[in-house]
Amino acid sequence: MTRPPVVTGIGVIAPNGLGTEEYWAATCAGVGGIRRVTRFDVTPYPSRLAGEVFGFEASTHLPSRLLPQTDHMTRLALVAADRALADANVGRETHSAFDMGVVTASSAGGFEFGQRELERLWSLGSGYVSAYQSFAWFYAVNTGQISIRHGLKGPSGVLVTDQAGGLDAIAQARRQLRKGSKLIVCGGVDGAICPWGWVALMASGRLSTSEDPTAAYLPFDARAAGHVPAEGGAILVLEDAETARERGAPKVYGEIAGYAATFDPRPGNGRGSGLRRAIENALSEAGLEGTDVDVVFADAAAMPSLDRVESDAIAAVFGERAVPVTAPKTMIGRMYAGAAAVDVATALLAIRDGVIPPTTNVRPAPHHPIQVVGEQRRAPVRVAVVIARGHGGFNSVLVVRAPPTGSAPREEPAELG
């Protein structure tokens, strides 16, 4: 069997950090980014908190040609991709354009752009709708724009599986590498913090109505009552391990060692969730046992029944309170298609620096048989499991492992607060 693919570049944009290291430092320190919505007047809505990316001025990061044709979340995705490729030291000359592709996850497409143009359609007429509406609100728009901007013409696509998408996109990238591509830019950046996006999210019945940023998103807590939506995500550069070594990739963050996805049965038919099976299958593919795992990044839905399914599955596979479980997304909210890609980036940084970032604000309820990490913990991390679940029954699990020794110079761990 060939070696698993490796992650050689990371670009994170999150409400508590515009940039990978900014995000990581804030996350290790437990600094949150949840606040009252500022992107539109949220007063008339029952849910009023969000994780917004602050201080993002698109025109300082992107050429003016791209601004009229991009939704806010696409601009975030383009900047995350710029940073991931720079981190990996990858450019147009690295490989033939057809050996490099893009696979991203999406949950809604460019909703804010779409809302604006649909409002113009019904209030002013079709002549007032931007020609760029033809693609700017599509699910695949981030993949397309990243592909065009960086000249990546290899196998590309988009995965739409809600919050599981961030993992499914990485898995799809892995499939393309197995078929012969040399490098795939993958992950997810998402965000629909506009009135239309907001009511669509409210329809799930899973949004918190708390006005207190420290009490609005409390997975595995007896007070759990929904989540806070967020914008942002992560873009990763995934490469065949041998190719990365040959080209002298400056960093190897880790391997994508295993993956599995399952689908929950129809509610009420008596069969349980497929989550446990997804965790077991992902570990099995990685050739690892539960005892090899140093940390689990939970999906952390913060709906009591969903939390229960997740904590039961974790306890069933790893033993009761046997493995550290963390949900750094408690600091920033749920990013839908962007969330799991951020969790994978976070897991890779945890491996790099030997730090497990905390789950904030949560007082774990005793009926959840898991060990929730409430404070930053220094511990060697070699293997991390990332869980992501999407609305409608998607379960995806990814296993991330420390880079094989000698694959690249390891950076000195940063000092963290």
Binding site: P63, S64, R65, P68, G127, S130, A131, Y132
Partner: protein, 82 residues
């Protein structure tokens, strides 16, 4: 039909608003006979520009004719019939 004449200055403004400016392109230079392609504008950018001209000046530009408007001069010809 509109009685307003649409000149290069108006076209430059509308191009900037509807499609931005390609890096390395001087839109204020001699661009009348430079192709939109060389100016960094694809067909969608030209379409959006034509749509704004229609909105602002009330000149309707035929879709088929727009396909032949490969330079600012040709687009201005379409925008200023007769």
């Amino acid at each position: 039909m509109s009685d307003k004449t649409i000149g290069l200055a108006e076209l430059r403004r509308i191009l900037r608003e509807s499609a931005g400016t390609e890096l390395g392109v001087d839109l204020d230079g001699e661009i009348l006979d430079t192709t939109f392609d060389d100016l960094g504008y694809d067909s969608l950018a030209v379409m959006e520009t034509a749509s704004r001209i229609t909105r602002e000046y009330g000149v309707s530009i035929d879709d088929e004719a727009l396909g032949t408007a490969t330079t600012p001069r040709r687009l201005l010809d379409l925008a200023n019939p007769d």
